[in-house]
Assembly symmetry: C2
């Protein structure tokens, strides 16, 4: 029996988005239909992935316009999250996809911009049995971890910023 997995990449380390990209590319290599929907972060934060996805022909959407700073009005960010989630829902229920990734989606849940219980209930009732759904980001709510089939925590053991090395084009973003 084939079963689509609910996969969560969380933790404070590198590799959450990168592993999701790798999974999409691998599935695409198998001829599967895949899509990425990125939340919260602005397009500039992802430009390496986006360039690669465009060159390959992988469906890729950026719905956010950057992290909200403390004290900043989150209204526009919340509107974009809800719009992104609607876009995700349409693709999830369509039955046309094999793998869909919701990148940085945990923040929308963690910040309470979407209700975690409602989102999980919707996924439980609407995700096609064959579809693999990947959710990434720090601070994954416990209810999401409980609902997931595969959860990996990426932990930073050592980070180049500790050594005063700046972020690297192509490797870090």
């Amino acid at each position: 029996m084939k079963k689509g997995l609910l996969i969560v990449n969380t933790g404070n380390g590198k590799g959450k988005t990168t592993a999701a990209l790798g999974t999409l590319v691998r599935a695409w290599g198998h001829g599967m239909k895949v899509a990425m929907i990125q939340f919260i972060k602005h397009e500039n934060a992802h430009f390496g992935e986006i360039k690669a996805a465009r060159k390959i022909g992988i469906e890729w959407h950026v719905t956010g316009d950057g992290f909200v700073m403390p004290g900043q009005d989150p209204t526009e960010a919340i509107r974009r999250v809800k719009e992104g989630w609607k876009m995700a829902q349409e693709r999830i229920v369509s039955g046309e996809y094999d793998v869909i990734a919701l990148d940085e989606f945990t923040y929308a849940l963690h910040f309470g911009w979407l209700d975690t219980g409602e989102v999980l209930e919707w996924i439980d009732q609407n995700k096609p049995a064959e579809l693999h759904l990947i959710i990434t980001g720090r601070n994954a709510p416990q209810a999401l971890i409980d609902a997931a089939d595969l959860v990996t925590e990426m932990n930073p053991i050592k980070h180049p910023f500790d050594k005063g090395i700046k972020a690297q084009v192509g490797v870090e973003f």
Copy 2:
């Protein structure tokens, strides 16, 4: 000052190879020259990645022919590791690459098939300053972690095998 990083993806969780694949694809998206050299595992264990890499046009080598079982003669596996390392060395010193990944390479060090001290000394003396070198696998020796700039540990929080779900084509391999 741009500096090529020595990156290690280790731990017992998913995502070590997948994140390396994602990093190569992202760098390739930036127009960088990248290569993957896979150790130990047989080609069949990687076929999704290989298919994807071939479709994209990313240089990809599989040098292993499977894990050695306890009691099995490791002579052929050791020969292949040494051949793979020679192939890696040639590409590292060539100065032609921006990112090179040595997948499952930690096992060659952990099993003592290559001397960790010698490998690290060779990398220290021969890796071009601009090259990002990614090494993946469980049981990364402490000396490798000490030498690395960026180390991420992928930890399994929950694995579908716990639930009795079989490995999934396209997602797991």
